[in-house]
């Protein structure tokens, strides 16, 4: 089993995403929500961080938060999966514990 890591801060304002990626083990699940969803956007200065992580970790983005910010699913980095609130709950249940990177 493995952990679910959550990131809810913008990768341009805090290093939460960077630390999450640095300190999470292979096979971990990572969920980006609230301002963390900007990390899943294509074409940004931090795109390569996520793009290189999707091979060894499962990265998810919370759809309602992405949509609220005017972003559409076609702008999400390849390999990142969109989940809704029910999917968030499923991830919590499927993993040993939740590690929040606030």
């Amino acid at each position: 089993m493995s952990d679910l890591h959550t990131v809810n801060k913008s990768p341009f304002e805090k290093n939460s995403l960077e630390s999450c990626l640095r300190f999470s083990k292979s096979g971990s699940a990572i969920l980006l929500y609230e301002d963390g969803v900007y990390g899943a956007l294509k074409g940004t200065a931090v795109e390569s961080m996520i793009a290189s992580a999707v091979g060894e970790k499962k990265v998810y983005v919370l759809g309602p938060d992405f949509k609220a910010r005017g972003l559409t699913d076609d702008r999400i980095i390849d390999g990142v999966e969109v989940v809704d609130y029910a999917g968030f709950v499923d991830l919590v249940e499927a993993n040993d514990k939740v590690q929040a990177w606030v």
């Binding site: 341009f12 609230e34 910010r69 005017g70 809704d84």
Partner: protein
Amino acid sequence: MSDTKNFMFLNRRAPYGTIYAWESLEVVLIAAAFEQNVSLMFVDDGVYELTKGQDTAGIGMKNFSPTYRTLGDYEVRHMYVDKASLEARGLTADDLVEVEWEDWETEESVDNIVEVVDSDRVAELLEESDVVFSF
């Protein structure tokens, strides 16, 4: 001495995750009501405030983005966006809302007062302002 000052609202935060963007908008509307010269500057994550197509139905929060498009009616004449901040965040000018401005007395109008500027221009504009409000 004139009572009118050049107010600059410096917006550096993304919407919804924190209250800064909304609070800024509230103060902008107050300042405009007191007939000051109000301009808005969007840098860093503040550029995300202006994305088109925001839909907050799924997160249970008020979508305040349509308010930006009304600012021209409150005699806000300039909304500046830092180009480098946009580029680092995967956005272009096409992703941003357009804000129309019209002077009802002279019928002078501008189709879109949202202007993408470079960092040197941002620095100039901030320095030229009488007061800078930071959010």
